[in-house]
Amino acid sequence: MERINIKLELIVIAAIIVGLYMAWNIGANDVANSMGPSYGSGALTLKQVIIIAGIFEFLGAVLVGSHVTDTIRKSIVDLDGLIAAGVTPDMFIYGMFAALLASGLWITVATFYRLPVSTTHSIVGAVAGFGLIVAITSASSGVGDVVNIGKLLEIAASWIVSPISGAVLSFIIFMVIRNKILDQDNPLEHAERLAPYLVGLVVAIISLSMVFKGLKNLGLDFGFAEALAISIVIGIIAGVITLFWVRGYKPKVKDEYQQVENFFKYLMLLTACYIAFAHGANDVANAIGPLAAVVDVVESEEITAKISVPLWILALGGIGIVIGISTWGYKVMETIGRKITEITPTRGFAATFGAATTVLICSKLGMPISTSHTLVGAVVGVGLAGGVGALNLGVIKRIVYSWILTIPIAAILTIIIYKLVIFIV
């Protein structure tokens, strides 16, 4: 009995290390992609981007990260189905650890080959792989008994829908900016008139995501109606503050379009926080989802996920992401920034807003999606509205290939690692 516990402790420590590595990789690469337009448009300096990303990725992870984490740890594989198929708590821990390690390995290989792979797709494929091997080796249970196929299809659908949603939202926002601001006489005046609404809207959405079912960890739990009311009030306050700020705003340049772009740099400050928050909320689960599952089972000694995700695990993921940003992500951000100098703050605002809104809604729905892919969709949306100079649509093809590759590879790697762990133990 003692021996097994030591082994389990080792597995937990290993899971924490691999989870931290995943969080680091997310911070190093995915954050840089999410923040690309904010930095590339010249709205923010590298230092500002890193500070904003660090703070808001962490907040998003801790305040809203539990929803997607729950999906990863208990919705892809059916916990009761696992028990019925004869999986012991130990086996479950090994399986989740295998999924985490497999996902980490594949992401590492993919990153070396610059494949636009999503950590989200990787972890979902990996956990599904664990379910698959359990079903295959069990005499009594079929795949459908162990793997929650309905949920998987739902997640797969969200991977297709989310970039489209990002594209549609960004297209609309950019069309509004184009028609209501850029195509008007005295565009800056129109930008100033529209700003309080835009700010109010963003602040209200972020508040809603936090207040509604998000502050349980802080002992506050509001229903939807209450949460909505609170968020609207916060949004209005933000709008009024913006109104006063706008009154004191003086343009520094003469060119009327440059005035608008400079003005939007301030609004991009907000969307930069927005997308960092949304990204943290969704992607932290890719690093700590299996870890949360493991810790739960180690503590309760049975396969369950009744208690909500412990705050320390979310914080651990958040810290990993922040370390990733500060040790490697800034370099990747510089590379991206050099590549997308042609994006301007109005375009960056539209793309970031569309992507962040999509990602945050998906996070609340517990849908693990790829922020980078959603942002690619959002930029294409702005492009379709005639807002971006030249888009290399070959990237979309590469994304689709990576998508198709990732699921089976993550699943098979998980199965191999799981078998190895079982063999060694």
Binding site: K339, H373, G389
Partner: protein, 228 residues
């Protein structure tokens, strides 16, 4: 330089040809800048200066060609752009022909010591100025493209740009009028001139007029480019 990276958002962005296109029109216009000094030297029968300016034009034309080739190489088919790729390439080709025509005119002036009769000298200079104005107007119109793209084809900027392109047509029309006037005059005084000189002068004037014609054609192509 980071090697360990996944950057789909960064890879999504391609290079636009608008800045290089602007560089191209600048080079082409530098060619056109030499037209007036060239014709002045031609009238003054300063053949050393003609030689010198013709060489300068030739070099500038070559530089414009290099910019043109560079744009073509860096405009892959898979790029999704605000402006049609084919329209951009046609525009580039027509714009490049402007420099070719300046060079052709320079060569005609260079190869034979043709005397310019007193009667058409003033008209010839005015004519050259009109041709140059057409090219200038094209450069001004093109410069407005950035603002049009900035508003992503807003109606306001679109109208503004169309008005600027109309100016190219206006100068081209004026050049045509002067060409006709000079041709008539040349035949009015035909007894005073040898046939070969008339033939050469008519050809030189036609070649210079072609500069304005291609500026107009480029303007037309610019209209097609921005039509949405």
């Amino acid at each position: 330089m980071a090697i360990f990276e996944r950057i789909p958002v960064g890879d999504l962005f391609g290079k636009t040809p608008y800045m290089p296109l602007h560089k191209h029109i600048e080079k082409v216009n530098e060619c056109a800048d030499e037209l007036r000094p060239l014709v002045e030297a031609f009238i003054a029968e300063d053949y050393d200066r003609v030689e010198e300016l013709a060489n300068k034009i030739s070099n500038l034309e070559h530089e414009a060609d290099k910019v043109k080739t560079d744009i073509r190489i860096h405009l892959p088919r898979r790029l999704f752009m605000q402006v049609d790729r084919g329209d951009i390439l046609s525009f580039l080709k027509k714009q490049d022909t402007i420099a070719d025509k300046v060079e052709d005119a320079a060569h005609l002036i260079q190869i034979r010591r043709t005397k310019v009769p007193e009667e058409i000298r003033d008209d010839l200079l005015e004519f050259v100025d009109s041709v140059k104005s057409a090219v200038d107007a094209l450069e001004v119109a093109y410069s407005e493209l950035n603002r049009l793209l900035e508003t992503s084809f807003g109606r306001k900027e679109h109208d503004k740009m169309l008005k600027l392109i109309n100016k190219v047509d206006h100068h081209e029309w004026k050049a045509d009028e002067l060409q006709l006037k000079m041709s008539k005059k040349l035949f009015e005084i035909e007894e005073k001139l040898d046939p070969l000189s008339i033939w050469f002068l008519i050809r030189i004037i036609n070649e210079i007029d072609a500069v304005a014609d291609y500026a107009e054609d480029s303007g037309d192509q610019l209209r097609t480019m921005i039509a949405k």
